[in-house]
């Protein structure tokens, strides 16, 4: 099974309490199966006329790492995938807090272009 790695820039709410975590990066590696799942969810969004869908991510789905501006790993939990008809992105909560970190959206064409959608 092939896999592919992505790095998405994360952004946070611009509150003073999160000033030290502004430059977060979400890096993730996803399997071919998970990439196909993302594409199928985008089809579901289109077919059902939804805005987006959300699915919790398990370690089996994808390897995700949240990194701070200094390069150190930042503890995160409750990882989730969000998919619209043409984009996907990842979210997580800073461990032990209710502060959500949200990556910038990635075009689904990126997955299709990577060949991950092909068996």
């Amino acid at each position: 099974m092939t896999a592919s790695s992505f790095v998405l820039i994360a952004h946070t709410e611009s509150t003073s309490s999160l000033a030290s975590t502004q430059a977060l990066r979400i890096g993730f590696t996803i399997s071919q199966t998970f990439a196909k799942n993302i594409l199928e969810l985008s089809e579901l969004v289109r077919e059902r006329d939804l805005f987006s869908v959300e699915q919790l991510i398990t370690p089996e789905d994808a390897h995700l790492v949240l990194t701070g501006s200094a390069g150190a790993q930042v503890p995160a939990e409750a990882w989730a995938l969000k998919v619209t008809a043409d984009q996907f992105w990842m979210t997580a909560f800073l461990a032990g807090t209710n502060h959500e970190v949200c990556s910038d959206p990635q075009e689904l064409a990126t997955l299709r272009g990577s060949g991950l959608s092909q068996d």
Binding site: S16, L50, V53, Q55, L56
Partner: protein, 131 residues
Amino acid sequence: MTHPFKLDIPPNPHYSGWPAYCLLSLEDPDLGRIREVAQVVRAHRLSCAQINLLVGACFDEDGFPVEIENAQLHVTLDSLYMSADLKNQGLEIRSDARPISEALIQPVVMSDCVFANSDVKLQSNHIATRP
């Protein structure tokens, strides 16, 4: 029939003018749509699905409207909540979640705000304005 449905919004001490609650004006077709989306969530093992919010408005603790944009209704297996952006401020608000059953079976009748009965639709002439 219109089903006014109230969702409380957690306070945010960092910002003034933060809304205290939102009201959804759900028509019967909207309730059917919520049921349908909840079934999609179940069938596809999703944690949530978002649909564009048809009619909703946010209010501060005094009952005055707060301008929002990009409002979304989030539907999980058994609950719903809304999110939206405060207009021109780039801040997201998110309501508390309430059981779907409350919206589908037992509509909340607002007796203490500008929407006095369950048949009132959310229209501009029903919204209070500041003196």
